[in-house]
């Protein structure tokens, strides 16, 4: 029997001697290098190298000018962990993460379910809810600062609606400012969650919902037992992005409150800019940046290991097929 012909080159292949594969493998490698090369170079230069440099700077006391000659080892890290303002910042980040899960998640789900129905003006409503996400952080922050002035538009609106007694010093009261910032953050980012969940909802086959209806399930039962579980992977992805985003919160806080009255709204990033770079303590700032990186990295790894693992096993396609 003649040896099987090699499909690509048409040459005969002697069994056990994959000579003809070598030029193909080499070309594959060349192609991979060419295509991945620029991306890899950029990624290393703009992400990996600065990370390494930040880790290095974190071991020094450095004003940013002049040579790196004041080695202090882990002192910067010790200083960060013993600083009540930094601990407060970590706590603020944790509060934002928790509130995002508790409030933004149900809100985005509810709005997505609502916007999934056919109704008049659905496209307009979707656009209106998604528009804040498209605005830049700076414009959002500057606009909200003006809106939240004492006796400003928000206060006047509340008084007109008869909610006058709930008016607070939104940005000036240390007890309230973090929650004010959470409202602004929700206003800005809810559109992202809605779009994501809408996409997930569209992917749920109608047959499942019809089958449930035939079996006599009410629409709430359908939602609770069929739609929401199938939306699981989307929710988990959204939660992941939301957590990482909440850990790195900076722009809105910096412009609106500079870290809040007496650090009440400071986050890890505003702390590192304020106590590190603004005070010309670039070594200390780099150490705090490394703490933030490690924290985000650990959260990301744990999340992928324990929460997202489910999604690779229980895929919808497997169930439907």
């Amino acid at each position: 029997m003649p040896a099987p012909a090699d499909l690509a080159t048409g040459r005969r292949r002697r069994p056990g001697r994959p000579v003809a594969n070598r030029p193909r493998r080499l070309r594959k490698r060349v192609e991979l290098t060419l295509f991945l090369g620029p991306a890899f170079v950029l990624y290393s230069a703009l992400v990996l190298v600065p990370m390494g440099m930040a880790a290095y700077y974190g071991f020094f006391n450095w004003t940013g000018l002049g040579p790196l000659d004041d080695f202090v080892g882990f002192d910067n890290y010790r200083r960060a962990f013993s600083d009540p303002v930094f601990r407060g910042s970590v706590q603020n980040n944790a509060i934002i993460v928790a509130l995002s899960m508790l409030i933004q998640l149900p809100l985005a789900l509810a709005l997505a379910l609502l916007l999934n129905r056919r109704m008049r003006g659905r496209t307009l409503l979707r656009t209106v809810l998604f528009a804040p996400y498209v605005l830049s952080e700076v414009i959002t922050a500057v606009t909200w600062v003006l809106l939240l002035q004492p006796s400003g538009p928000v206060d006047h609106a509340m008084e007109t609606l008869g909610l006058g007694r709930f008016v607070q010093l939104w940005l000036a009261d240390p007890d309230v400012v973090l929650y004010t910032m959470f409202v602004v953050i929700t206003w800005k980012y809810i559109g992202f969650g809605i779009i994501l969940f809408l996409a997930g909802l569209v992917a749920i086959p109608d047959e499942l919902k019809e089958a449930a209806a035939i079996d006599g399930a009410s629409s709430w039962q359908t939602t609770r037992h069929i739609v929401l579980p199938l939306l699981g992977p989307t929710v988990r992805i959204w939660a992941f992005l939301s957590i990482i985003g909440a850990l790195q919160l900076f722009d809105l806080i910096w412009i609106m409150t500079l870290g809040g009255p007496a650090g009440a709204s400071s986050t890890m990033v505003t702390y590192l800019i304020d106590h590190g770079f603004k005070r010309n303590e670039f070594g200390y700032g780099s150490a705090v940046a490394m703490i933030l990186f490690t924290l985000s990295f650990v959260v990301a790894l744990l999340y992928q290991r324990f929460v997202l693992r489910r999604d690779t096993e229980g895929a919808l396609t497997r169930m439907a097929g």
């Binding site: 000018l65 939104w170 000036a172």
Partner: protein, 422 residues
């Protein structure tokens, strides 16, 4: 497949080359010099004034052009610090002197202009000392002044106050009269923190002897004298009279009509403790963007405090100036001399937004209120530089933070003093 690979190679190299080939910055090859100038005058009239000075210099020296970049005051300090260590540092940049300048000089990034500006410095006399380190000149001031209360005469009249207060107790009484008339007594830009520090700094200037103040700046420590702790206690009593606007912890100092300067500009508050530049800042925030005349806006120094060890005519203040970076061409120092010439300084004085320092130019200030500030500056035997500039940057900003926390009801007078020790 081969042609696809070839195309991708060409595209990839084109992209990398495009990214790498960048701007060269100054081109000095053909004898032309471009000076990059970073200053904090983002509003007119000062912004246009600087443009005019640059144009006037180019008229006299056609081979020198300017690339001017106005940067908002709150961001310019970090921008300068980062810019100095980059490959494209600014040639002329904002400089407040004191401990911050000393730190910059240590790094070797600031040009020693002692020789090229010797004549100008001689004319300036003692004022130039704030921009010297170890006897060498590293920058020149163009506007030096003192902090004081800028107040609205119309609102004072409304509250039945006949004249500026002469003591701290009288100031407290005036605050009460204004509150009774339904007027916000004092506007404070608490969000930016340095306006808070003016209160503590001025009280310390009133309570501490000149030696204690000078020792504090030299040693970068406030532990040397009890008067600094006392300053916190007097400040606490003052804050307890609740003289500030609602939500002052979140009000910015100079940005927009809702800032503390904007409140005074629009008659929403009766007075503000601010620096010599405030007349100009307020003018930029009025509805017609014109300065309030001296029939509306007045000025009085921080009143004396009974029992204080401070020199009676001591003032708290500082100035704005410019430095040349170490790699700047000689045209930079020459331009600073030009900026400090009597002609240019007189034009600056006429704007009524700051206080010129060149000898003989004091008369150019036409607004009586601003002229009053200039008189107070010249009459003062000792001016304490703002503590966040007198001390090196890190302890200075830590002090601002501690004072701002104190205004928010956190911390104690001892903690304010301890904050500069890190």
């Amino acid at each position: 497949m081969r042609s696809k690979a070839l195309i991708s190679v060409l595209l990839g190299s084109a992209l990398v080359l495009a990214a790498c080939g960048g701007d060269d910055g100054e081109a000095e090859a053909d004898g032309k010099t471009e000076l990059i100038w970073w200053h904090n005058a983002t509003q007119d009239p000062l912004k246009s004034y600087f443009e005019d000075v640059a144009a006037a210099y180019t008229a006299e020296h056609p081979d020198v052009t300017f690339k001017i970049e106005p940067v908002q005051n709150e961001s310019i300090t970090t921008k300068i610090q980062v810019g100095l260590q980059s490959n494209d540092p600014p040639d002329i940049f904002q400089q407040w002197g004191g401990g911050e300048l000393a730190t910059q000089v240590q790094s070797g990034k600031v040009q020693d202009i002692s020789d090229s500006t010797a004549d100008t410095v001689e004319g300036l006399g003692g004022t130039a000392a704030g921009w010297q380190v170890d006897g060498k000149q590293y920058g020149l001031p163009y506007s030096v002044g003192v902090v004081g209360f800028w107040y609205r005469k119309d609102l004072f009249e409304q509250a039945g106050i006949t004249g500026p207060p002469a003591t701290l107790d009288e100031l407290n009484e005036d605050v009460q009269k204004l509150k009774d008339a339904g007027i916000t007594p004092i506007a404070l830009g608490g969000k930016d923190k340095w306006p808070d520090a003016f209160y503590w700094g001025y009280i310390a200037t009133r309570l501490c002897s000149t030696e204690a103040l000078q020792e504090a700046s030299a040693s970068a420590s406030l532990d040397g004298d009890d008067c600094f702790v006392q300053a916190g206690e007097v400040l606490e009593d003052f804050i307890d009279t609740e003289p500030f606007q609602e939500g002052f912890l979140g009000t910015p100092a100079q940005q927009g009509a809702a800032s503390s300067a904007g409140m005074v500009a629009n008659g929403k508050a009766a007075m503000e403790l601010q620096g010599h530049w405030n007349g100009g800042v307020i003018g930029g925030l009025t509805p017609d963007q014109k300065q309030l005349g001296d029939d509306v806006l007045g000025w009085f120094p921080f009143p004396p405090i009974d029992g204080g060890d401070g020199t009676p005519d001591a003032t708290f203040g500082g100035g704005d100036g410019f430095s040349c970076s170490s790699e700047a061409p000689p045209a930079c120092a020459d331009f600073l001399n030009f900026l400090l010439s009597p002609e240019q300084q007189s034009k600056f004085g006429e704007l009524n937004v700051g206080l010129p320092v060149a000898p003989g130019t004091g008369d150019s200030v036409s607004d009586p209120t601003v002229a009053g500030v200039l008189e107070a500056r010249d009459a003062s035997s000792y001016t304490q530089l703002y503590f966040d500039k007198a001390l090196p940057t890190a302890p200075g900003l830590a002090l601002n933070d501690a004072i701002a926390n104190f205004f928010a009801g956190q911390g104690s007078p001892d903690e304010i003093v301890a904050s500069v020790n890190q």
